[in-house]
Symmetry: C2
Subunit: 324 residues, 2 copies
Amino acid sequence: MGEFDLIRRFFQRPVRRAALGVGDDCALLAPAPGMHLAVSSDMLVEGRHFFADVDPEALGHKALAVNLSDLAACGARPLAFTLALSLPRADSDWLERFSRGLLALADAHGCELVGGDTTGGPLNICITVFGEVPAGQALLRSGARAGDDLWVSGTLGDARLALEALRGERTLPAPWLAQARERLERPTPRVALGQALRGLARSAIDVSDGLVGDLGHILQASGVGARIDTQNAIELIATGAISTKASGAFDHETLLRCALAGGDDYELLFTAAPEHRAEVQAAGQATATPVARIGTIEAAPGLRLVDAQGQSLHQQYSSYDHFR
Amino acid sequence: MGEFDLIRRFFQRPVRRAALGVGDDCALLAPAPGMHLAVSSDMLVEGRHFFADVDPEALGHKALAVNLSDLAACGARPLAFTLALSLPRADSDWLERFSRGLLALADAHGCELVGGDTTGGPLNICITVFGEVPAGQALLRSGARAGDDLWVSGTLGDARLALEALRGERTLPAPWLAQARERLERPTPRVALGQALRGLARSAIDVSDGLVGDLGHILQASGVGARIDTQNAIELIATGAISTKASGAFDHETLLRCALAGGDDYELLFTAAPEHRAEVQAAGQATATPVARIGTIEAAPGLRLVDAQGQSLHQQYSSYDHFR
């Protein structure tokens, strides 16, 4: 199987919305009038973002999911994506499963594969995704204001628990591991919620490196600070996939660390004015996405993590950095 | 230097045309009314597309140049690009030189860096580029018609000669090597010519894998064949960077092989109706890009390479395939 056969066989499909898809020098997108095009790129590297033995179908899903999550954080509607793929070899079985996972998620979001590149080399997957958002309505990191509620979708920490179990750093009962692993390997981008939050959320980001680190980007971009009651936050959002009851099996510090600095969650972290609380809850319900209020934006810079008694936590939490 | 310092220091610059640049979940492009957005992705892998000891500044140039070449082949005007970068380590000196080469070419074409990703891993550079082209005016591979002239810009084969010299497969006098290496490592995307050919060329592609292979894509997409007088073609286009006089230093078969199947040329190969010959020449002159007529599109499928006596060449030429 040569390079062009590979593309035709696994990745070339008719496009419906794009003006031109895979198979020319460029793809052609036809943006709708009044729309901005939201663009995001993510690169996944074997050994860094996934284990060498990961299910190729899950990997295909995740490679697109992390990009769709960026569109969600902007409130954009997915349109199309390009796929650049470096492969050690052209393995039909691997490609069939990878493309199945990738294209199933793409179809679920009406997001068309319009172009890309294939080359030999160490396994590396780079997807660039395109979405549309009405001009001026994109959710940005820079819009948080003192007094805003701090919200998070879904639950945080499951992916981290799975990662630690897969690394042999902890043992999880099989059913919990299966659930946590599903969150690590097949994250759900909160695409519908992101769009529903347009006009409601004042700022948003997706949680990919860990809550504390990603919230830091909002605080820095907005020139504000925040306070989180960690006891309340843990009860609302920690390791929910394993069920609230199961979370009793973990010590407080583990729950805190996984929820605040776990990473790979792909939930939305956003702020909204308190007068929009009911509408934010309604947006969550309308999109079948749980949302929880975990803190408050404050004028004083910095993040204040406090316990149930309002005392500051001494533990520092930091997010993943590829070069530290 | 952490991941976010690295981005801020080397890759974050104010945008002028995009609605939002580096530093949020997505970049935002504001497409002009009536324009299609041309999109292309290319991934460059160490050991495949460049040598480990390549000058980082040249590598930065080339990584964007190969993408701009795809825009040129569509007749699109460059607007913006994203950069996803996998790096073995955060080396300030390397990053300074890489970003200098990358951004100098970007500035020369008014093409803004709007987003991307950085990660640890084997060196891999994935750029996705965006350009605009009036709806319905993009140059495609599928428009060639029997009777069209077959044109190529610039010269072909220099990059291949340099590659063979750098691999130790041949010796080149130092000045020739310097010239050929410049073509290999710092190719010139024919962006202005591509735009000047809108409305003139009926089909176009950029020569990245070799003339024969890339012409094959036009022939297949257009359902036509072609004839090339190879003697005439060599005189017009072979290894021009080393000068016509110098080309006498190479045997006929070497010139033929480098020009027809060399690869990494990033010249435009295009077809146009014979009645537009003078306008095509004028487009070349207006954009300071040599153009040469090397063959004819014919109705019968297949590529016929003939010598000065009209006899078919027996030698087969094939282009590079990452998986063959």
